[in-house]
């Protein structure tokens, strides 16, 4: 548009030259417009500052004569659009018409959120007995309440006492054969920032993590959004009960390298999400050997470690790493209390790393997402109450086990099988018999029918990058026993209407 300037000045200044200048001026204008449209979109605000009408009126400039709409960054733009993953779409739909067994029996039943309410009675009791004491810390000086104990700046990575409490707790719920050093730990405000901060420390923009699929849909947001790190699914199959194999890892890695992608690490959940299987010691060993050979990182998201109800024993990657055969500094663990202790609202996350530079960088990054001091005080008290924790964890496991049995049994009656699982708050259901076509399209059609006809929100395998169509994740730990027959009836009706 720069060329317009001299001509326009002529047009404005000299009436006599008006006609003689007008035609070429218009031609220039249209030519510029044509060229501008043919170019790829210009950087958001670079053009606007060149427009002559602005500079010619700068002395008269007042509010109301602004140039154009100010833009956001290109990296923020995708976030402004509504999410398109069925995972989020399903969650949103439930909000429009949520099931309530008393007030809205025809509403949509939420099976898409991995949360447990099974042991709230125990937590509630603890909170009402202990909350005030854990917060209203007495002053040494006058015995009155000392607000500075919860109000003042504290180290962003968490008080030593809270890290000690977490280290102890994690060791106990992960089988007792692994110990965690509080100085390798940083505490943060949720599993979401924990994963993101760790990703920021281990890989650059454009690098990639291998991730066994199906995987938790939230990782797409948590990892990719701001870091620009790619996630490369490593497809697992029902024939292996969706357990990752080294050959699959090898294949994905070599394909990535051929594409020019730099793989910085492997990220996986154990217990896995959405399948719910527990990785054996041998599998963990194999993953770590592979990572060692390729000199990459291993991130083990163990956020469901305490929600194990099957017969298989849970082993933390930290335990395998400490076995002495490996360079531990490549191993990092994610944890939090949202699942095992049903406290997602509290925002609790843990990054545990054997690499001291990662711990050091993560500590500094905690200023952007640290856990509030009053919440730390509550957790110190809660996690150190070993008697309560033991009682709670035993009840938690038992109640998940019972609910799991009822749910899976109900589906079995309908001829719908589930993958074998021993952990997590969900089961991985094979609804392929209900598909009209054995394809992603068929699966998404079923997802929509489940939502709008059966009024059930279950997360389809496509959202989790599952390579086999027809699988759905169903979370059952926020259900009452009486909700289960309701669900089964609805699925039965849907199945019958599909076949008729």
């Amino acid at each position: 548009m720069r060329l317009i300037v001299p001509l326009q000045g002529v047009v404005q200044g000299r009436g006599g030259l008006f006609v003689g200048s007008l035609i070429p001026c218009c031609l220039f204008y249209f030519l510029q417009l044509y060229l501008k449209r043919r170019r790829s979109p210009p950087p958001p605000d670079s053009d606007s500052t060149e427009l002559p009408r602005t500079s010619s009126r700068s002395s008269l400039f007042t509010r109301g004569n602004s140039i154009g709409r100010v833009r956001v960054s290109s990296r923020a733009a995708p976030l402004a659009k509504p999410p398109d993953s069925p995972y989020y779409i399903g969650l949103e739909r439930v909000k429009t018409d949520p099931y309530d067994r008393v007030t809205n029996r025809d509403g949509i039943i939420q099976l898409g959120l991995a949360e447990s309410t099974l042991c709230f009675d125990l937590l509630q009791r603890w909170m009402s007995d202990n909350l005030m004491e854990s917060l209203m810390i007495q002053s040494d000086v006058d015995g009155g309440f000392d607000v500075s104990s919860i109000a003042m700046y504290q180290p962003f990575e968490g008080l030593l006492e809270v890290r000690v409490a977490f280290a102890d707790f994690m060791s106990r719920i992960m089988g007792g054969n692994v110990s965690f050093d509080p100085s390798n730990m940083v505490i943060t405000a949720g599993g979401t920032p924990a994963v993101e901060v760790l990703a920021f420390c281990l890989a650059d923009h454009g690098n990639a993590f291998l991730i066994p699929s199906p995987y938790y849909p939230g990782f797409d947001r948590d990892i990719k959004f701001r870091t620009g790190i790619e996630l490369i699914p490593v497809h697992c199959r029902s024939s292996d009960n969706f357990t990752v194999t080294v050959s699959a890892l090898e294949q994905s890695l070599s394909q990535a390298r051929k594409r020019g992608s730099k793989v910085s690490g492997i990220l996986f959940s154990n217990p896995s999400n959405p399948v719910g299987n527990i990785l054996s010691r041998e599998t963990l060993h194999a993953i770590l050997s592979f990572a060692q050979e390729k000199n990459i990182h291993v991130i083990s998201d163990e956020i469901f470690a305490g929600s194990v109800y099957g017969d298989k024993e849970f082993v933390s990657m930290a335990e395998v790493a400490a076995s002495g055969d490996f360079d531990k500094s490549r191993v990092h663990i994610i944890y939090g209390l949202s699942k095992d202790l049903s406290l997602p609202g509290f925002r609790t996350g843990v990054i545990y790393s054997f690499h001291e530079d990662v711990v050091s960088a993560a500590k500094k990054l905690m200023r952007f997402c640290s856990m509030p001091v009053p919440v730390q005080r509550i957790l110190i008290s809660l996690l150190s109450d070993t008697r309560f924790i033991e009682e709670y964890m035993a009840a938690h496991r038992q109640r998940i086990r019972d609910k799991h049995f009822l749910f899976v049994e109900g589906l079995k009656q309908l001829g719908i099988p589930c993958a074998e699982s021993g952990g997590g708050l969900y089961c991985w259901v094979d609804m392929s018999s209900l598909l009209t076509s054995y394809s992603e399209k068929g699966e998404l059609e079923l997802f929509e029918k489940l939502l709008s006809v059966a009024k059930i929100n279950a997360t389809p395998g496509t959202a989790c990058y599952c390579i086999e169509p027809g699988w759905f994740r169903c979370c059952f730990t926020a259900l009452a026993d009486e909700d289960i027959p309701v669900i089964m009836e609805r699925i039965k009706l849907l199945a019958e209407s599909s076949t008729s």
């Binding site: 605000d45 602005t54 400039f61 509010r63 109301g64 140039i67 154009g68 100010v70 960054s73 290109s74 923020a76 976030l79 402004a80 309410t117 937590l123 509630q124 005030m132 004491e133 917060l135 209203m136 009155g144 309440f145 000392d146 607000v147 500075s148 919860i150 109000a151 700046y153 949720g190 281990l202 890989a203 650059d204 923009h205 947001r221 948590d222 070599s254 390298r257 730099k262 793989v263 390729k294 000199n295 360079d327 500094s329 490549r330 049903s342 406290l343 997602p344 609202g345 925002r347 690499h355 530079d357 960088a361 200023r367 952007f368 997402c369 640290s370 856990m371 509030p372 001091v373 009053p374």
Partner: protein, 451 residues
């Protein structure tokens, strides 16, 4: 065969696994003097009874002057812990499960009302435009992610809070281009300085996305004049860029009438294309003395920014427990009115104590009217009028006087010899001891110069 995987950043040890650029960079700035003084304090912290000759921390802008007001409110309104416990519609269950990035409506309403009160009702805040973050640090970083791409720039007037180098640049990859201000006009931002900064960026092929100011200013401890704000908004409109106003110290202005928020200016504007470039950052860490709670907010007049910031706040949510605890406190009209009034008064008195104490020693401060610190001029004590000269003096003050204060160079001040001195994170007694140490130092110096 493909690219080799092992591109090590450590030549000596080929087996070490590689870390990211973010992890190994020093953009966190924790090796600068601003933070080095903190280490000295950590190693030998002053304590009234146990360590009276230790380092007095005057580098931390924390507000402890009104803790008693918080304590008496919490104890009085909290028989048997009822304040902490969930009651009514927000039972424990809801509290434990609630992780909606919209934030509790009651809490947002309370924040909006508190922000209005601080501005004497001269601006309205819509609770639906409030996005909650875990502290203002997170709010500033989040806004930067949203408003600018890597290698774009924000213009920031100097001197500025040293933490911005980290908060605005580290993970975002965005640059800061300084708007140089100087003492000739009390470090106020001028239209010429704005243009110069913009041109400097343009000449270096750097795209400017916005201006970020702190009002009241950190480290100056002074409010930005209304005219300067209007000129600033005009500048941003003309360049079609954003304006971020970090008003984290707005409740710490000694006389409420002396503060003009950018919200007041925008209040009377209907043109959306002007309004929607304005964003305000706030927090409870300074005004309410609750940095441990990690409560920050972005208030934006731009729907797109509100929506995007809300979604991005998943990475930095405020715990439901905190929101619940503070919602009733912030909506308690009687408490907030009293707190704001008394807090301002106490800060003003502290400010006067320190400024007068320094004046007796021949030390001048910038005329300030807000904040938890004063901006002290020790230029006349420098051996050389350089950054090295300033850091030499800073080192003497740290080692000999055992006072940790912040040198102007860490705030990118274009003049040497200025220091930020915090006064609200200690008792009055401790402040007097700090002044005494300064008196003794100046006394010694006068004796040396006279003989």
């Amino acid at each position: 065969m493909g690219l080799p995987l092992m591109i090590n950043n450590d030549d000596n040890n080929n087996n070490k696994v590689e870390l990211s650029r973010v992890a190994v960079s020093d953009t966190h700035g924790e090796d600068s003097p601003y933070f080095a003084g903190w280490k000295a304090y950590d190693e030998n912290p002053y304590d009234e009874s146990h360590n009276p000759s230790g380092v007095i921390q005057m580098g931390l802008a924390e507000n402890q002057v009104s803790f008693d007001l918080l304590e008496s409110y919490l104890e009085k309104k909290n028989p048997e812990g009822s304040l902490w416990e969930s009651k009514g519609s927000c039972g424990f269950r809801e509290n434990a499960l609630f992780q909606d990035y919209h934030g509790l409506k009651t809490f947002r309403q309370a924040m909006a009302s508190f922000m209005e009160k601080i501005r004497g009702g001269k601006a309205r805040f819509d609770p639906d435009r409030i996005v909650l973050t875990a502290g203002a640090t997170a709010a500033n970083e989040l806004l930067t992610f949203i408003l600018a791409n890597p290698n774009d720039a924000l213009l920031v007037p100097t001197p500025y809070y040293p933490g911005f180098d980290r908060d605005l640049r580290w993970r975002t990859g965005v640059r800061i281009v300084p708007i140089h201000c100087d003492s000739s006009n009390h470090f106020q931002i001028t239209p010429e300085a704005l243009e110069t900064a913009y041109e400097t960026a343009r000449d270096a092929n750097i795209r400017v996305r916005g201006v970020l100011i702190t009002n009241p200013s950190n480290p100056l401890g002074a409010t930005v004049q209304k005219k300067a704000l209007e000129d600033l908004l005009d500048f941003c409109v003309r360049k079609n860029i954003h304006l971020v106003s970090d008003e984290i110290y707005s409740g710490s202005v000694f006389h409420a009438s002396e503060f003009t928020s950018v919200a007041e200016i925008v209040e009377n504007i209907d043109d959306v294309s002007v309004k929607e470039r304005v964003h305000i950052v706030y927090s409870l860490s300074k005004d309410l003395g609750l940095p441990g709670f990690r409560v920050g907010t972005i208030y934006s007049y731009n729907d797109n920014v509100v929506r995007t910031a809300r979604r991005m706040s998943s990475f930095t949510l405020v715990s439901s427990q905190t929101q619940h605890m503070l919602a009733s406190m912030l909506s308690d009209e009687e408490f907030t009115e009293k707190y704001i009034r008394i807090n301002r008064e106490r800060l003003r008195r502290r400010y006067e104590t320190i400024v007068e104490g320094l004046k007796k020693e021949g030390i001048e401060c910038l005329k300030g009217n807000a904040g938890l610190f004063c901006w002290m001029n020790l230029g006349f004590l420098l051996n050389t009028n350089t950054k090295e000269g300033e850091l030499e003096l800073w080192d003497v003050i740290l080692k000999e006087l055992k006072l940790n204060i912040s040198p102007g160079s860490s705030c990118h001040c274009s003049e040497f010899g200025w220091f930020r001195v915090c006064f609200a994170n200690m008792s009055e007694k401790t402040l007097k001891i700090a002044l005494k140490r300064i008196h003794e130092f100046m006394d010694r110096r006068r004796k040396v110069l006279n003989c």
